[in-house]
Amino acid sequence: MKLLSILCMGVLLSLPLQANELLTELAPNASTATSSDPLTTLPDRQAALPAVEKKATDEYLQPAPLADIPTGAFGDKVRLGYKLFVNTQQLRDKYVGNELNCVNCHMNAGIKANASPLWAAYFAYPAYRKKNDKVNSFQERIQGCFSYSMNGKAPASGSPELVAISAYSYWLGMSGLMAKYNVAGPVPELSDVELVKGAKRDDFPMPKAISEHLDVTALSQLPGRGFPKTPQPELAYSPVRGMTVYQAHCQVCHGEDGQGQMIAGIAALPPLWGPQSFNWGAGMHRVNTATDFIYENMPLGKSIQLTVQQAWDVAAYVNSFDRPQDPRFKGDVSKTQATYHQHQGYYGQSVAGNPILGSESYPVFPLKKSVKQ
């Protein structure tokens, strides 16, 4: 009884937040402006992407097969980017602080449309956002995913890792565009400095055969970008109902306790919450973002199987457990919540009578050997 009523409260509480969601997009984040400590002053680089409506008529870009990546230094960077993206655990303890890999959320090595594909992302940066809460270059967006989704430490700007992931993203996108608009020859090589910027800029060397069809703005909104927005649920989302969905459709792979499953030393089935998953700053902790991802991509290999309501409910359930702390937390959960969590999420709230989420969160960027499952 108690459990139920508390959860109901949670749902009621979250209703007004739903309406606020759009406003936070525009709200400046004063607290990130000055201080010099990079760890405690991370800007909100996980801000929600503009949700792109999915249409039946959408045609998605088809990047060239990986076998077409050229030999030589440029091709080597592209290949390294692929490898880091799919097996990000190579960077464990260096830049990665959980059991995840980029490919766990950006399915098919960042190629699958509607799973936030790299080929679409590359043309959407640099993206300027209001005030201090801006996402700059492409590499800064990647840094955001290291800090939050990977619960790690972002590689330095211009580092070989960021150059490689940028090169891979660029190659996917450009090879797709060139095929679509019949531009012959290999994907033009770019310098490292150019690569990490992204392609949403007037000085980007875009072949004319492409730019005469798609201007910079059109390129930044390619169909398939991000996770398509799931329709609103009929009933306000509920972690209680979500638990039933979880047990029926997710538990078998992600485990009763959400910790996934280790096979041969790697999380073949990735953890959804707890110390080894994404942290409270990651986009996936927002119920709406997780819903969009889950509805389109889970259970694995099914594509859309859940109903809209089930997707919302299970996303709420997954995000109603504790996980690694928000890296922008400076000792006061309610302040962190007020500054960064004015959206659909449970940070700073108590669900089912449990301690306030955020008050007992797991460490940010722990060493692998120090994390107990």
């Binding site: 097969p65 990986l66 076998a67 990546i69 290949r79 692929y82 490898k83 880091l84 993206f85 799919v86 097996n87 890999n101 490919v103 399915m107 098919n108 090595a109 190629i111 699958k112 029926a248 459709h249 078998v252 792979c253 499953q261 280790m262 096979i263 041969a264 790697i266 073949a268 089935l269 259970p299 694995l300 290999g301 099914k302 594509s303």
Partner: protein
């Protein structure tokens, strides 16, 4: 017809079984075969190492998985005349005991290949195994079956399994004689595979030794 073939297999394998039994007691690390598992060894080998077309390898599968499959045979969700009869011989606590025994038998160490190790993969079956084919919503086999298909938990080990067995399984999902995997998660994938892919993938995983 099929049954008599299997019976023939048992007869043939009985003497062999004794030989292996001796081997087993020599390597003292192996635990004693529970009585309820004696019968099984005639087709699956004393250490569950498999006996070619007679019976697939059970070593390397988890207790959870074996346990579950025995129940699926018993309830007919997984249809196989031989195993229907064999699974009926283990009931109650013996199911767990037998499952435990086979799950503890050793399999050879294999070099592990992880997703992402190779970028351009020219063998189409290896590519399916490590990258999938998302144009048909087929995820990489190794994203559930683990690196090199070593398996774990309810995901069976594919690496080094008998080739004809792997093939039969994929076909039986296609013809509806194997069911019972939670939420049809493997069935959903098996039905998308072409005949050539079933052959190629079975070969590919069987050859990981």
């Amino acid at each position: 017809m099929k049954t008599s073939f299997y019976l023939f297999g048992i007869l043939l394998s009985l003497p062999m079984c004794n030989v292996m039994h001796v081997n087993a007691s020599e390597t003292s690390s192996q635990q004693v075969i529970p009585a309820a598992a004696q019968l099984c060894t005639s087709c699956h080998g004393a250490q569950g190492q498999g006996m070619g077309v007679v019976g697939p390898r059970l070593a390397g599968l988890s207790a959870e998985y074996i346990n579950n499959q025995l129940t699926l045979f018993q309830t007919g969700k997984r249809q196989n005349p031989t195993m229907l009869a064999m699974a009926a011989t283990v009931q109650g606590d013996n199911i767990a005991l037998v499952s435990e025994y086979f799950s503890q038998q050793a399999v050879a160490d294999i070099p592990l290949q992880f997703r992402g190790d190779k970028v351009a993969i020219s063998d189409p079956f290896e590519a399916l195994a490590f990258q999938g084919d998302w144009s048909r919503v087929i995820p990489a086999c190794t994203s559930c079956h683990g690196p090199s298909g070593v398996g774990g938990g309810q995901f069976p080990r594919l690496a080094g399994q008998e080739v004809s067995y792997l093939k039969t399984q994929l076909l039986s999902w296609q013809n509806g004689t194997r069911k019972g995997d939670v939420d049809n998660m493997m069935g959903n994938i098996a039905v998308k595979l072409t005949a050539a892919e079933i052959d190629g993938l079975s070969e590919f995983f069987a050859n990981i030794k």
